[in-house]
């Protein structure tokens, strides 16, 4: 574990776990009234010149009293700060404070090394943990996507692109990304599925240069289905199907109820189908409810798992619980989920299905997404934070 590291990557998950544990501990102290001294070592304030190996060694030495395992509980926060807890009076905390102050005289000790008392200052501790997790980092209102200035394709241009897709080699346009399990106690994320999908922006640019597909959702969906059916046709060969393994295929409803997918479904056999997760856009369910109902019955019969992809939480709130039975959900984390007052947060939480094991949080690009998920019992993630380097 790196002590001085402002980077958030795989070993950042240990820091996340520490942060969650520290938050839980602060709450416990309030509940039980147990007193603790807390030293917050804000290594994130240490200037870059001291991050060189020689200085790093000095910082390490100053921290030595904390690193002896029996002396204090030590937590590493995302961003590199350390938090040490000790029963009062906690002389070794003072020792560290003195050592580091000598090393960094230019930063006032109260700034670099604040001391907190639990349970009295639990709220302050929770605030700093939330800040380290990025949970207080309320983003500015997301800007609407800037129009590309390009014209949408005409119907006949899209017809031509769909004909082109039928014989295109998609190899260069396929993207793979992992879906991982990462629970608060895990040292490493465990791979669950590998998502496989055609990357549409590049494919659309190749087949319809100078046209903007995003302006017309119905045409974009048509194109998406054409690309997916081409990918499925390539997968629906015995050799390819055998290689598929634990796969997540995000597919439109119109692609799933078509020959290419059904051929793959037959080739996979019961054991292959059990390893398959299909993610269908929630909007497709609304556009064709009868087709979606058929797909659900088919999934129950054939043994693959079905998830609603990217449902708006407000849509989930409108759906009766029995209508969601047996479905998984792939939610997209948006920094805006951290914003809003207590009421907005509670309303968002109420929209999540009760069985959190059926939720996958996609778009986990920062540790705040993992923390947000863990706070809600979500342990399946997809995104840069969990993706190995």
């Amino acid at each position: 574990m790196s002590i001085i590291s402002a980077e958030i990557n795989l070993d950042g998950t240990a820091a996340l776990r520490d942060a969650m544990a520290l938050a839980a501990l602060a709450r416990d102290c309030v509940a039980s009234g147990v007193e603790r001294r807390v030293l917050h070592v804000r290594l994130s304030l240490v200037p870059a010149r001291l991050r060189e190996p020689r200085h790093e060694r000095l910082v390490r030495e100053a921290l030595a009293p904390l690193l002896r395992p029996t002396r204090a509980r030590l937590y590493e926060l995302p961003g590199g700060d350390l938090v040490a807890l000790s029963p009062p009076p906690g002389e070794h905390l003072d020792e560290v404070r003195r050592g580091l102050s000598r090393l960094l005289p230019e930063i006032p000790a109260d700034t670099l090394l604040p001391v907190l008392r639990l349970p009295a200052e639990a709220a302050r501790l929770l605030t700093l943990v939330e800040a380290a997790l990025g949970l207080d980092d309320i983003p500015a209102e997301a800007l609407p996507p800037t129009p590309s200035g390009l014209a949408p394709p005409s119907a006949s241009e899209l017809d031509a692109a769909l004909r082109g897709l039928a014989t295109a080699n998609l190899a260069a346009f396929l993207r793979r990304q992992g879906i991982w399990r990462l629970a608060p106690g895990d040292a490493q994320p465990t791979p669950l599925w590998t998502e496989l999908r055609p990357f549409l922006p590049d494919l659309a640019a190749a087949l319809m240069p100078g046209r903007d597909l995003t302006a017309t959702p119905a045409m974009a969906r048509r194109f998406r289905h054409g690309a997916e059916r081409r990918m499925l046709a390539e997968l629906a060969h015995p050799q390819e199907a055998r290689k598929l393994g634990d796969a997540c295929l995000p597919l439109g409803l119109g692609s799933l109820l078509e020959t290419e997918f059904l051929r793959l479904d037959a080739l996979l056999g019961p054991s292959g189908r059990a390893r398959l997760l299909l993610c269908v856009p929630a909007t497709d369910m609304l556009a064709d409810p009868a087709g979606f109902a058929l797909l659900r019955r088919l999934g129950a019969m054939r043994g693959w798992q079905l998830a609603l992809d990217d449902p708006d939480p407000a849509l989930l709130r409108m759906m009766r619980p029995e209508a969601l039975e047996g479905l998984s959900f792939r939610l997209r984390f948006a920094p805006a989920m951290l914003a809003g007052d207590a009421e907005a947060r509670a309303s968002l939480d109420a929209a999540l299905p009760e069985e959190r094991g059926r939720v996958i949080l996609a778009g986990a690009e920062t540790s705040a997404a993992i923390a947000w998920g863990w706070q809600r019992g979500i342990t399946r993630f997809m995104g840069r934070v969990v993706e190995g380097r």
Partner: protein
């Protein structure tokens, strides 16, 4: 060269099975049905013939074919026909012959569909239907909207509806084209179809229908897909109500009503033999089943279609 189905049928050993699934309903159900028949053909030894009017499985042993037929019935609600061979041979041959000669469904390109929606005469693509409540009496409401094209592909049908909705709305506010639309009846509540973009898609922007927030005002019928962006739907519903409209949601399948709980909307959905498990307070039933219109259509809060 595909093997001839007659030759294959003649060569069937006794004890075999024939399963025929007529082409009806949506394309997805047909694709699933064919896939299950093809699987049965592999498992039990046999062949599948895809006719324009339906799919035929000739299977050497009955087990896989029977299981496929049962599975198709459970999945799609329409059980295929099954015959033991050689007993059912004559009846099967008649069905297969007719299915083989049935006209194939038209394969629309997007360009052709767009052109059709833009050029077909308004009186063909706009449709006026009348509704009443309960057992008797005069019609209470009229719906003006695009005629369904009955395409087997729900995506294309939705695209056609969008194009046609915009055309009908544009004609409504056009001094000359308006005369080509079916004449609205005075005194009946209006149910008007809107595209996904709602009233913004109309040439003059929002159309004022009456005093704000009148639950008995004319109904703006929006496709169910508007719920894909709930915040956008909330905004649209708010501005419609401000302009005097009541908000309606058009579902292509009545079982959707059991899944969704949307406050303050009137639902519209195709009529079915049995009511959905959850009956919304306000419902418009589309279509007139003949000869057996279900009795539940006359329940309180329901408008059902009557002859024009």
């Amino acid at each position: 060269m595909k093997p001839d189905w007659r030759a294959s049928l003649a060569a069937m050993p006794p004890g075999g099975i024939a399963v025929f699934r007529p082409a009806q309903g949506q394309r997805g159900a047909g694709r699933v049905g064919r896939a299950l028949l093809e699987e049965a053909a592999i498992l039990g030894g046999g062949q599948v013939f895809a006719f324009p009017g339906g799919d035929l499985l000739l299977g050497a042993v009955p087990g896989p074919g029977q299981r496929a037929a049962q599975a198709i019935g459970e999945l799609t609600g329409l059980a295929p026909l099954a015959w033991s061979l050689p007993e059912g041979q004559a009846e099967l041959a008649t069905r297969a012959e007719a299915a083989n000669l049935a006209p194939p469904p038209r394969a629309w390109s997007l360009a052709a569909l767009e052109a059709h929606c833009a050029q077909a005469p308004l009186r063909e693509v706009a449709r006026l239907t009348l509704f009443r409540a309960g057992h008797g009496g005069a019609p209470l409401a009229q719906r003006l909207g695009p005629a369904a094209l009955d395409l087997d592909d729900p995506e294309l049908e939705a695209m056609a509806r969008e194009w046609l909705c915009r055309r009908v709305l544009a004609a409504l506010t056009h001094p000359v084209e308006r005369a080509e639309l079916p004449a609205l009846r005075p005194g009946l509540r209006l149910i008007l179809d809107f595209p996904l973009a709602g009233p913004q898609a109309t040439p003059g922007g929002a159309m004022r229908a009456g005093a704000p927030n009148d639950p008995n005002g004319p109904i703006a019928l929006l496709p169910l897909a508007v719920l894909g962006v709930p915040s956008g739907f909330a905004r649209m519903a708010g501005s419609l109500r401000q302009s005097g409209w009541a908000v309606g949601l058009l579902a292509s399948d009545i079982t959707t009503l059991e899944a969704l709980d949307v406050p303050d909307v009137t639902w519209a959905a195709p009529i079915t033999a049995r009511p959905p498990a959850v009956l919304p307070p306000r419902l418009i039933l589309l279509g007139r089943p003949n000869p057996d219109p279900p009795e539940w259509r006359c329940a309180p809060g329901i408008l059902h279609e009557v002859e024009t």
